[in-house]
C-alpha cells in the first residue's frame, strides 16, 4: 500500500517539477506564471492593460500575415473551378442575356431611377463621412465560444469601446476592445451580445440576444406574441449606443432574426464614431 502511494507521489512530483533537455521550465513554475498573468489581466492593472494592447497590435498583424494561405487557397480553388466551368457558364449567361432582352422595355426606366437613388445615397454618405471610419477585417477566426472580429483601426483613429459597427448601413456589432492600431468587434450573434430593438407596425420593443449560433433571437417580447416572417428589425437606440433605426435583419416565425450581414463574410466594416451616452463594460 505504502509502496503504491510512494509510486504515486514520485510520478506526481516528477510530472510537475521535472525538467529535461528541451523542457527548460517545470510545469509547476509555468502554471504559477500563467496564474499571475491571468489575475493581472483580469483585475486590469494599467501596466498590464498597456502591455496587452501593445501585444494585441503585434499579434493581430502577425495573425493577418500567417492567415494569408487560408485566404489565398480558397481563392485559387474557386479560380480553377470557375475556369473549368467556363463553357457551361457561358451558355447560362447567354440564356440570362436573352431573358434580360425580353425585359428591356422596363430597363431604362429602372436604371434611371437607380441612378437618381444612388445620387441621393451618395449625398447622404458625404454628410456623414467625417463621423465614420472605414476599417479592414484583420482576423475573423471562428471561435466556437466567442463571435468577434479584429479590425485594423484603433484608438489612434478615435475609436472607443461601445461604438457601433456597420456594413452598408446594416448593424454588425460593437467595439468591445481597443488597442492603438486595432480593435475587437463583438458580433450580434455572440452570446454576450444584447441589443434593444424595435420592429413591426406596432413598434414592438424587444432585446436581440445572441446565442453563439448563426441567428440571434428576440427576447423580452410582449406576452403571447406571435412572430411573422420577413419583418425588418431595427435598433431602437434606447441603450444610447446604437443609432435608432439602424436596420439589423428580418424576423423568422421561430423568433430568430436572419441578419442582413452574414457575420462570417465580413471584409470591410465602418465604425461610427459616435460616443456612447453611457459607459459600457
Amino acid at each position: 500500500m505504502s509502496v503504491s502511494r510512494d509510486d504515486f507521489s514520485i510520478a506526481f512530483r516528477s510530472a510537475l517539477l521535472q525538467r529535461g533537455a528541451s523542457q527548460k521550465f517545470s510545469i509547476f513554475s509555468l502554471i504559477v506564471v500563467a496564474l499571475v498573468v491571468f489575475f493581472l489581466d483580469v483585475y486590469g492593472f494599467t501596466v498590464v492593460k498597456t502591455a496587452r494592447s501593445f501585444i494585441n497590435d503585434i499579434v493581430y498583424r502577425v495573425t493577418y500575415l500567417a492567415s494569408a494561405p487560408t485566404r489565398i487557397f480558397p481563392g485559387i480553388n474557386e479560380a480553377i473551378a470557375s475556369h473549368f466551368n467556363l463553357k457551361k457558364e457561358n451558355e447560362e449567361l447567354r440564356q440570362v442575356i436573352e431573358r434580360y432582352k425580353s425585359l428591356d422595355l422596363n430597363l431604362e426606366y429602372i436604371s434611371n431611377e437607380n441612378k437618381n437613388l444612388k445620387k441621393v445615397l451618395d449625398t447622404e454618405s458625404v454628410k456623414s463621412v467625417s463621423n465614420i471610419v472605414l476599417a479592414k477585417v484583420l482576423v475573423d477566426r471562428n471561435s466556437p465560444f466567442l463571435k468577434s472580429i479584429i479590425i485594423n483601426k484603433g484608438s489612434k483613429e478615435g475609436i472607443i469601446k461601445g461604438m457601433p459597427v456597420t456594413q452598408n448601413k446594416y448593424l454588425v456589432g460593437r467595439i468591445v476592445e481597443t488597442n492603438y492600431l486595432s480593435s475587437r468587434v463583438l458580433l450580434l450573434n455572440d452570446l454576450n451580445s444584447r441589443i434593444p430593438v424595435t420592429f413591426d407596425e406596432k413598434s414592438t420593443q424587444a432585446i436581440l440576444t445572441g446565442g453563439g449560433t448563426r441567428k440571434p433571437t428576440l427576447t423580452y417580447l410582449p406576452e403571447d406574441y406571435e412572430f411573422e416572417d420577413d419583418v425588418t428589425v431595427f435598433a431602437s437606440g434606447k441603450d444610447g449606443i446604437f443609432n435608432a433605426g439602424t436596420p439589423i435583419g428580418k424576423t423568422k416565425y421561430t423568433g430568430e432574426v436572419e441578419l442582413f450581414v452574414d457575420p462570417n463574410q465580413l471584409s470591410f466594416v465602418t465604425v461610427n464614431l459616435i460616443k456612447p451616452s453611457k459607459e459600457i463594460f
Binding site: D7, A21, I27, F38, N142, P144
Partner: protein
C-alpha cells in the same frame, strides 16, 4: 549529411510549428459553417499526443507561449489557455511516468481525464473571474468532438512520427 540533418530537424519541429500556426492563424478547427455544433480543440490533442510520445519535441515554454498567443487572438483573458494546456501537459507527463507502454485505447482513456481537467479549469476560471459568457452546450459539444476525434488524430500523428521522426516511443 547536413541537409538531411536540417530536414530531420524540420520534421521534428512539425508538431510545434502546427501548434503555433493553429494558435496564431485564422485557421479554424471548427466547421460550424457546415455543422453548427461541430468544433474541436486540436491544440489539446497535439499537446497530449506529443507529450506522451515525444516530450523532447514539445517544450513546455513553447506550450505556455502558444497558449498566450491563442488568448490574444481569441480574446480570452491572458494566461487562461496556457493554464489549460499546462494541465494537459501535466496529465500527459504523469501518464508517461506511470506507464511502460501505451496503446491507442489507454491514451484515449487518459486523454479524457486530461481534457476534463483542462476544460474544467478553463471554464471555471472564465466563469468566475471574467465577464465573458460562454454557452455550456458549446463546451459540451467541443469536449465531445475533441474526445471523439482523438483516435483519428492519434493515428495520423503516429503515422507522421513513424514516417518522419522514428517509431521509438519516449
Amino acid at each position: 549529411m547536413a541537409k538531411a540533418n536540417i530536414i530531420n530537424k524540420l520534421f521534428a519541429a512539425g508538431p510545434l510549428i502546427l501548434l503555433y500556426y493553429l494558435s496564431i492563424s485564422e485557421m479554424d478547427t471548427n466547421l460550424e459553417k457546415l455543422i453548427e455544433v461541430f468544433s474541436i480543440n486540436l491544440q489539446i490533442i497535439i499537446i497530449y499526443f506529443w507529450i506522451i510520445k515525444r516530450p523532447n519535441l514539445m517544450g513546455t515554454g513553447h506550450i505556455f507561449f502558444a497558449g498566450l498567443i491563442n488568448d490574444v487572438v481569441m480574446g480570452f483573458p491572458l494566461g487562461i489557455s496556457s493554464l489549460s494546456y499546462l494541465v494537459v501537459c501535466f496529465v500527459g507527463n504523469y501518464v508517461r511516468n506511470k506507464s511502460v507502454n501505451t496503446t491507442i485505447a489507454s491514451d484515449w482513456f487518459t486523454f479524457l481525464i486530461a481534457l476534463l481537467f483542462a476544460n474544467l479549469l478553463f471554464f471555471s476560471l472564465l466563469n468566475n473571474f471574467s465577464e465573458v459568457a460562454i454557452s455550456y452546450a458549446k463546451i459540451g459539444y467541443n469536449t465531445f468532438f475533441t474526445l471523439f476525434l482523438f483516435p483519428v488524430f492519434w493515428l495520423l500523428f503516429n503515422l507522421y512520427q513513424m514516417s518522419f521522426i522514428g517509431s521509438q516511443d519516449a
